[in-house]
Symmetry: C2
Subunit: 381 residues, 2 copies
Amino acid sequence: MENFTAYNPTKLHFGKNVIEQLPETIASYGQKVLLLTGKGSVKKYGYYDQVVKKLQDAGKTVIEFSGIKPNPTLVDAEKAVQLAQTHQIDFIVALGGGSVIDTAKMVNMAYANDLPVWDIMKHKVEPRLKKSLIAILTLAATGTEMNGAAVLQNHQTQEKIGYFSTLMYPEVSFLDPSYTLTVPKNQTVNGIVDLIAHSLEAFFSGGFAPLSDRFVAANILETMDYAPKLCLDLKNYDLRARMMWTATVAENGTTMHGRTTSGDWGTHALAHHISLLWDTPHGQTLSVVFPAWLKAMSYKIEARIKALGSLLTGEKNISASETILFLEKFFEQIGAPIRFKALGLNERDKQKLLDLWLINRPSGLNIELSPKDYQQIISFL
Amino acid sequence: MENFTAYNPTKLHFGKNVIEQLPETIASYGQKVLLLTGKGSVKKYGYYDQVVKKLQDAGKTVIEFSGIKPNPTLVDAEKAVQLAQTHQIDFIVALGGGSVIDTAKMVNMAYANDLPVWDIMKHKVEPRLKKSLIAILTLAATGTEMNGAAVLQNHQTQEKIGYFSTLMYPEVSFLDPSYTLTVPKNQTVNGIVDLIAHSLEAFFSGGFAPLSDRFVAANILETMDYAPKLCLDLKNYDLRARMMWTATVAENGTTMHGRTTSGDWGTHALAHHISLLWDTPHGQTLSVVFPAWLKAMSYKIEARIKALGSLLTGEKNISASETILFLEKFFEQIGAPIRFKALGLNERDKQKLLDLWLINRPSGLNIELSPKDYQQIISFL
């Protein structure tokens, strides 16, 4: 096992009506709050009104920035920073899914330190200060509600990149599974794929971390148990609760302790380019790219893929290809695309994707990717 | 799943030479440190000298309280509080195993709030303040290094009880598996039993928490993998590291989210009485009492025992008695006692134990114990 520091300062309230604890949480936080939201579903379903009322009842002035898109952009983050500066806000509440919370994290860093968002993300400057950030989650998927990471895309430079800082952990997160009962089936499936992919990225980090490996398998097996039922029963609170918690656990450190890197992230880096080119939902890009990446990487990491298969199936002698098939079957079972053409894309689009990979050179933190690997992965898409 | 709050503020540094980070950690903490230690092994093996040097290099004045016993006592805690008061110490460093760190937690509460230790533990008064507490672990077992709990025994009242407060989480913990390379085999076995028992106490809490259940099984299976090897190779760093981390995880919240209570603790409550009467090592009492408790409770919780067995063995149709046998065989394999007479105790001692149970009425938080249950458990000891 590698040396590590286990530390996660987020206080996470999980369950029915946890929003009731919002006023006492923010009592000492200052007067002006920047409220970040997405594209309208929080208003449609009443979560927005509920949260705004709690903020106002607590005597806060709400400055609102809404309309953050599913693949969140640098442009939106910069606009929100301007708004924060104009009103000199005291703390931030992010009400939404991963895109809203990720944006809020970067807005926080840029505003609190008076630094440009992209300079922070490109490690040209380092933030040292933060404002209090509250996350109220309405979509189970990315795990951003209990970690210090954020991903934004920059259409100008054709990049979608992540940033991590211990300053970015939400101070308090509110996870009421009831808030996810209205998530439609396709977004639910995307969230399931995302959390499975996060678990797998952890597994394909380097080093020997047997307990973390078992936790990865536990999280995936739990997901494989509830997910097919949830896809048939979207309004089921208990199944929504199980999904919400596995999504958090997939990315809050639990599966990462003792590894050489905090995940591999090669598959994510590859998949981000599909979103960049065609604005494809993140989850759909992952269920397509992960099987292809596993097939192409089998020459390097066959033993690891087999180890994963053993933990998931209990079969000691499972092969790498059987393991990949096991994952593909699950993705198919919940209706997630596993081939490039299922995204509505064709052979010429594959070439476009390969060209962009060859320019940006996405790679894993643990498993490096060469131009030859890109070609192999493309051939399996 | 039940509502819960996931929150663990301890920053835990794990791995080789993490003690190097002690000086920067305590730089801002004030001048006088109360250093608590146990009965001499930390001095014998040089850990004490290493830590004292780091404290002195950081410019701190060390006030020492040593000699804390394996089943820590109220009397020692009270003496340490007096010492803290006499010297008006600024923060506390606990160097040792669970007994030293548990004592340090209660000393911290009593000193920082000027309240009697036992009054706090009996919930007659409530602490509101704390001093910074650093834990440096030398024995993997109880998990106290990353939680807010402590257990002390009061010989005067014939009680051994636990106390929990969010104020008691160590601020920073240092876990260098090298510090446990000198732990003798019997204490190593006791630690393994303790962490297995903690995992089981979590499992037998109430409510439906399927991911936490899988995490329990993962922690036990990981332990069953390294423990037999470790018992034959006590100086193996990697195996020590695996043990140290499983012991922490067994009791840091990972296995507890979504349950009705924070563990059942019925078996611990029963087993504590054996330590009270004969000063038996905690781990030995647990490997004896857990199988007996499971057998006696099968009439109430057969389905849960079978569910545990399925998760541990992968066999869907395993019976409760096969599950219990599976655990007993593991305890036997590592040389842990599984019957009362292996503790050197006889039939008359069983009666003494039963008498004390009937006076103190130990019970689980989830699974209540009646006098008839006590008799059943005694019959299986």
